[in-house]
């Protein structure tokens, strides 16, 4: 089947089998920053924003999201102009092997867009769909707190 998506702001028309999941469709189309870690919706490596909502792309049937906007980690910032959240992850030492990082950055982004001043419990809840074996999520928590402060300063 064929479907149209707006991926990181760019219109794409993609073909795929009827039972394809969004993860595979995105990777086939060249969005390799979306990773496969478990294919069971547990690790968060495949997270994307679907119309701004955080989802596991391995748990979304691509056929059902025709016409929707998809944002990957490359859609919120670039190497040349990183998003403050990406910069905060770097600064806090929260990027180790980096495999889970795109998913974590998007989870933090989804949180801070909706809730710019999250409490601890809200941060941990926002990250409860991400596994990070390298950092154990410890520096990741610091990165999100730092990102919240940075975004606040930016808006001040």
């Amino acid at each position: 089947m064929e479907a149209r998506f707006r991926i990181n702001g760019q219109e794409r028309t993609l073909s795929f089998p009827g039972d394809a999941v969004l993860l595979d469709v995105l990777r086939e189309a060249g969005y390799l920053e979306v990773k496969e870690g478990c294919r069971e919706g547990a690790c968060g490596s495949c997270l994307v924003l679907l119309d701004g909502v955080l989802v596991n792309s391995c748990q979304v049937l691509a056929g059902s999201v025709d016409g929707r906007a998809v944002t990957t980690v490359r859609g919120i910032g670039t190497f040349q102009v990183p998003h403050p959240i990406q910069a905060a992850f770097v600064e806090a030492g929260a990027v180790h092997c980096g495999f889970c990082t795109p998913g974590l950055v998007l989870a933090a982004y989804a949180l801070l867009e909706a809730n710019p001043h999250p409490e601890e419990a809200e941060i941990t809840r926002a990250l409860d769909g991400n596994l990070c074996r390298c950092t154990g999520s410890v520096k990741v928590m610091e990165a999100v707190r730092l990102a919240a402060r940075r975004l606040e300063d930016r808006h001040a």
């Binding site: 920053e33 496969e36 190497f79 990406q86 941060i123 596994l131 154990g136 999520s137």
Partner: protein, 789 residues
């Protein structure tokens, strides 16, 4: 020493931004789009002979290019262990065998043009098995009459104990002093058996590799491997190629923790490419990683320690039985480390015996896993120390401070227990463990909480516990690392290292060491690592060797380059070289004349005294200076359900001088969190037929941010004289302490000791009930804490 400018700074990891912005590519991302897809067929039986394998129908599936099995792949015995040659692991594996030894063992490989064609073909391969009796318990496996997994031509590559006719794949025994006299001299003996479980590394990136033939027919393998040089050697051997015909490249790796210190995928993709002439890729699913890769070795440790009333330990006997699983990779070396990394810590023990055995069973295969035997050994050892200190009426923090090995001291275990050969005598030169103990105890509020059983609410009681550990920094006289550098005309330096950054940041810290030596910023370095064609040798990312061993190689290499720069500058400035000094990327003379590295390099490249400024260095460590760690846990036990909540975990670590404190903390924290979920929840659960029932995160639980206790890392500096700028390694040690610290804290809270991992709430609940039963029958000490059955 002058103030350090680079080492000791929390420099941002050089790849962090590219990773955070999704720029970086991992192995599965790099595989050519048109590469052939490899897929594996696994055994459904725990132990069987393949009596018939018919791949004809499968081969005829459109899109299928080839199917490999024991029928068309030569048997070359090897070990998959990523270790130095000759490996201390037995040569008991072949690429495809006609016998399968665990549910998940490899039977065949399909190579096809698409994922879909491969899956279709997989279903059409017809295999008939003659089922053999299987054995899952290592004790049973060692009994006469047990079904045997190995034999025939399987052999050990070095002279070690290897008796496959008994399912014994490794055995180690050391002793000194007089054990029985030691026990006779004791006032009490604690004799307990501990059990620890298998676990999966859960690196977020599943294993992946691809291969292709370059323009001149050389085989190139790109793999998420911790051991590119070992992979090259083993691939060459298995495929009958000279080593110079094989190139192995490690791009980014999404975590390893020991799971990728194994040469499993590389020979398979190489085989596919060699036979078909086409690029071929193999990317494993998470399920395949759980089942068919490697695990932590499950183990049973019996520990018998005798002590006098004053706490002096007079005798230690440790008897360990490692469950090797179906193959013996790392079975000797993990086993050896159970003793080698644990027993020296309390080095005043004069009467000691360590007996270790590894047994084959028809289960998934144990391999390298962060901690590497120390984790298993410390679960037992630290609980015993807690018991002995208590019986001696002493606070365990003070007890450990008194008895642990100190700087200037040695232990007979260092020399007695190596990895397959004799160990290396060494004297500990840096140890800040006492300070780690003091600072950690203060941070957790030890004296306020210990023994107080503070209530945390109705039916909840709290306790605190301690664990102390040491690890190593590389394997002495075995691990070798090398580095090469060349200066570009702008004064920047290409740093070529074999060392393998698996997310640890080794590219960055090795650049920091070089930067310190050359007085350049880290940004001036172009780091190239882990390509067997272009970077010099390094054993790989294991044994906590990178900072210390690879670091020394980089240091030596940088010092030589510095010497060249000074010589070249002396000639250009016409000043004696002894008078010159290096300052921030320039060379200054007493006369006031000054040349930048760029000026020197440009001149040397193009006009005068022409030469390439370049150097190289190699280092093999003569000793393995241990990092030390004290971990403190505060737990809260729900006395009605047995739920254990870890409130806080404090890790006070001595890694010499941390080259990059934030990265060092990151290593400690990641390892510690892994240690906590290992202590409480992770487990390999098999059914009666030896099948793993929980090969998914659905039922293999690891922590998310929501599960985290309050975590604190305290880095306590000591200065290791043999380390690069005083550094020791830090990669593994922090995974060793959480389980025993938590067990000791649980005992502090409710007076019940758990000897088996994971410490599930049901196990604690049952143990508390049994204790209550004992107490109500009039035995045992009072327990307090509001326990209800």
């Amino acid at each position: 020493m002058r103030e350090l400018k680079s080492v000791g700074r929390s420099t941002t990891k050089i790849d962090s931004l590219a990773l955070a912005t999704g720029q970086e590519r991992f192995t599965a991302d790099l595989a050519p789009r048109d590469s052939l897809v490899c897929t594996l067929l696994y055994s459904p039986q725990a132990h069987a002979e393949v009596t018939r394998l018919d791949a004809d129908a499968a081969r005829r599936t459109p899109g299928v290019v080839e199917i490999f099995s024991y029928l068309n792949v030569p048997r070359v015995l090897h070990t998959t262990a990523g270790q130095g040659f000759p490996e201390p692991s037995p040569y008991d594996a072949v690429l495809f065998d006609s016998r399968v030894r665990y549910v998940g063992d490899r039977v065949a490989m399909v190579v096809a043009e698409s994922e879909q064609a491969a899956q279709e073909a997989l279903k059409k391969i017809q295999v008939e098995y003659r089922v053999l009796e299987a054995v899952f318990d290592p004790e049973a496996a060692l009994l006469p009459g047990a079904p045997l997994l190995h034999g025939g031509e399987d052999h050990a590559a070095i002279p070690v104990v290897f008796r496959p006719e008994e399912n014994l794949c490794a055995q180690v025994e050391i002793s000194f002093g007089d054990l029985e006299a030691g026990f006779a001299d004791s006032d009490f003996v604690e004799d307990h058996t501990y059990r620890v479980q298998a676990a999966s590394h859960c690196a977020m990136e599943p294993h992946a590799a691809f291969a292709y033939l370059d323009e001149r027919g050389r085989l190139v393998v790109v793999s998420a491997t911790q051991v590119p040089f070992h992979a090259r050697r083993i691939v060459a051997m298995l495929l009958g190629l000279p080593i110079r015909q094989v190139r192995v490249v490690k791009p980014r790796i999404g975590g390893g923790f020991g799971g990728k210190q194994e040469v499993i995928l590389e020979p398979l993709v190489a085989l596919a490419t060699l036979r078909t002439g086409c690029p071929a890729r193999l990317v494993l699913s998470r399920r395949e990683v759980f089942v068919s890769c490697r695990t932590r070795h499950a183990m049973r440790v019996r520990l018998r320690m005798g002590a006098r009333r004053d706490g002096t330990i007079t005798a230690v006997e440790m008897d360990g039985l490692l469950n090797s699983g179906a193959y013996g990779t790392h079975a000797l070396t993990v086993l050896s480390n159970v003793g080698a990394k644990v027993l020296p810590l309390f080095n005043k023990v004069e009467n000691l015996r360590f007996l270790g055995r590894s047994a084959y069973t028809n289960l998934p295969v144990g391999g390298a896993y962060r901690g590497y035997g120390a984790t298993q050994g410390y679960f037992a050892f630290n609980q015993h120390i807690d018991m002995i200190a208590r019986r001696a009426g002493q606070d365990v923090v003070e007890y450990c401070k008194r008895w642990h090995i100190k700087a200037g001291e040695t232990s007979g275990v260092f020399k007695a227990l190596g990895e397959g050969k004799e160990g290396v005598e060494q004297v500990v030169r840096s140890c800040a463990l006492s300070e780690c103990l003091d600072r950690g105890a203060e941070a957790i509020g030890w004296s306020r909480k210990r023994g107080k059983r503070l209530p945390g609410g109705p039916d909840r009681v709290r306790g605190v516990g301690l664990a102390v550990c040491m690890q190593g920094s590389g394997i002495p006289r075995i691990d070798m690392a090398a580095a090469a550098m060349k200066m570009n005309e702008d004064g920047s330096v290409n740093l070529m290292i074999g060392a393998t950054d698996i997310g640890t940041g080794s590219d960055t810290i090795l650049a920091q060491i070089a930067a310190e030596t050359l007085q350049l910023p880290v940004e001036a370095f172009v780091v190239l690592s882990s390509d067997t064609d272009t970077t010099p040798f390094d054993t790989g990312a294991y044994a906590s060797s990178t900072t210390y061993v690879s670091g020394r190689a980089v240091l030596e290499c940088a010092e030589k380059l510095r010497g060249q720069i000074l010589s070249a500058a002396a000639a250009l400035l016409e000043e004696p070289v002894e008078a010159l000094r290096i300052e921030d990327g320039t060379v200054a003379a007493p006369s006031g004349k000054r040349l930048s590295y760029a000026e020197i390099a440009t001149t040397c490249t193009y006009s005068e005294n022409q030469q390439q400024l370049q150097s190289q260095g190699s280092y093999v460590c003569e000793e393995s200076p241990p990092p030390f760690l004290a971990q403190f846990a505060e737990v809260e036990v729900d006395t009605r359900t047995g739920r254990i909540e870890v409130l806080e975990l404090i890790s006070a670590a001595d890694c010499g001088r941390p080259v990059n404190p934030v990265l060092a903390e990151g290593q400690v924290e990641g390892a510690a969190v892994n240690g906590v979920s290992y202590a409480l929840w992770e487990d390999y659960v098999y059914d009666a037929a030896g099948r793993l029932t929980n090969p998914r995160f659905w039922d293999y639980k690891i922590f998310t941010a929501r599960d985290l206790p309050k975590m604190r890392t305290i880095l306590v500096d000591s200065e290791e004289p043999s380390g690069p700028y005083g550094a020791k390694s830090i990669g593994e040690i922090a995974i060793n302490g959480p389980a025993p610290a938590i067990a000791n804290a649980v005992y502090d809270a409710v007076g019940v000791r758990l000897f088996e991992l994971p410490m599930t709430p049901e196990r604690l609940w049952k143990a508390m009930r049994e204790q209550a039963g004992v107490d109500s029958r009039g035995g045992g000490a009072g327990k307090g804490g509001g326990m209800q059955g």
